[in-house]
Amino acid sequence: MKKRKKINGVRVGIGAAAICSFLCLWAFATREGTTLGILMPGPVEVFTHLVETTYTKVGPLTIWGHMFNSLRRVLVGFTIASCCGILLGLAMGWNRTLEAIFRPIFELLRPIPPLAWISLAIVWFGLGEGGKYFIIFVSGFSNVTINVYTGAKSVDPELIGAAKMLGCSERRIFPSIVIRSSVPYIFTGLQIAISSSWAAVVAAEMVRSTNGIGWMITAGQSVGNMEQIMVGIIVIGVIGFLLSTFMRGVESKLCAWSRVQDS
């Protein structure tokens, strides 16, 4: 089992070159005098603005305030969605009666894209936080449930037999075997859910909000402040990346036992 700790120098080099050429291309395409240059800012303007937003307010808050609000929403919605999804997925995967009862309703609601719920959420919850939490919940819930459900259904029956043979009581089979066995599936669902939840926050904030990164983008659009829009996009990208990386890190720690080694 070799852990590849060496950093591939060539890869990093070419990667850096790629990013540099992209930035140069961007700067070139938006230079003084081009049509694109009138419509869109170059990298220099965008990064200057990014730095500015850390100490000047954009609307009601600095960029830190907006980031905090967006993150707060995503984490709350995601946590609720995960808990509910894991519970429902395990229940449906393990108990055939619960599966027969809940799965049809779930399958009926599943094809509706999460963002289609936005209007309904506003009708039900008004323009406050409740509606946003609801959308984020809907975005994450479906993915977590499906993956956990698949996991609970795929428990190897031999393992259950082995546990009983070793003296495990019927009551303890579920926590001791089914849940432990489903952990990799839970994490697959969580990884997808964190990305969808982050996308949902952005969309919800773009539609109806008074703060947050998504709001920053639409606010920028309504006053024609392109730098603000670009800054918003960059921040969204960075935070989205950090969230995914964090989730992958947690998964590799907890699911070390299921990593298929290179043969």
């Binding site: 393992l159 546990a163 009983k164 043979m165 070793l166 075997i177 952990v183 036992w257 299921s258």
Partner: protein, 250 residues
């Protein structure tokens, strides 16, 4: 000497929409304390099911099983099963797997750790306590499987072709290892195999089984000194005799 395990008139039929399928005919088996009883037969029919029935993992269609006088109806620690596929818990380390039995039965941590360590040492896996099954070779995993059942200190150990998935070299090694382990800590073992050399190397008695529905064709008492010699003339004569009466595999 009273029998450790007595199975009387076991039969097993699987019902399905396509019709009933009788896997086990009428089988009666007994084993003495610390005896290695080998069930030898062709192909795949019936032997694994028989072990699962004895272990209580499958209900018999008819017949009874008594272990040291008590009737056995459910799976439990008195009868341990070493699986052909090992069936180790992938999320537990070697130590975690081996101490699992005592753990779910409430043995306190210190005691069960010591016990598990003893059996990990016994099967020759000292140093691999913290490894996950995915990091171990096939032979090593099977050792964990054996240690796990040993640690539970069952009255009877069942082994379902435990070395079937191993390459020839490792297989010979594991047979010798099992012999050594058994000599150190004697247990009653019912061992299933379709490999004649393995059967004769390990067995005190060999029961030759038929194809589906499985029944016992003939019993052979193996009186050779241990550890057995694969090239001993008597070993070879028995090998010839047994293979000549075995049904061809289906």
């Amino acid at each position: 000497m009273s029998k450790v395990i007595e199975c009387k008139n076991i039969s097993k039929t699987f019902e399905s929409v396509n019709g009933d399928f009788q896997v086990i005919g009428d089988i009666s088996i007994e084993a003495d304390q610390n005896e290695i009883l080998v069930l030898f037969g062709p192909g795949q029919c019936g032997k694994t099911t028989l072990l699962k029935v004895i272990a209580g993992l499958e209900p018999a269609t008819s017949g009874t099983i008594h272990i040291n006088g008590k009737e056995k109806t459910k799976p439990g620690p008195e009868c341990g099963l070493v699986y052909q596929t090992t069936a180790l818990f992938p999320w537990l380390t070697t130590m975690g797997n081996v101490e699992y039995g005592p753990k779910v039965q409430g043995v306190p941590k210190k005691e069960r750790r010591a016990r598990a360590q003893k059996y990990i040492d016994l099967v020759g896996l000292t140093g691999f306590e913290k490894s996950y099954p995915i990091q171990l070779s096939g032979g090593m995993r099977q050792r964990v499987g054996i240690a796990r059942v040993y640690c539970n200190e069952p009255e009877v150990m069942l082994m379902d072709e435990p070395f079937g998935h191993l390459d020839a070299q490792t297989r010979y090694l594991m047979q010798e290892e099992l012999e050594r382990i058994w000599q150190t800590e004697k247990r009653t073992i019912i061992f299933v195999t379709n490999n004649i050399e393995e059967a004769l190397y390990l067995a005190d008695r060999v029961l030759v089984m038929t194809n589906c529905p499985a029944t016992i064709k003939k019993e052979f008492k193996i009186d050779l000194p241990r550890p057995r010699d694969y090239t001993d003339p008597e070993f070879l004569r028995l090998r010839q005799e047994i293979t000549s009466i075995v049904d061809p595999a289906e």
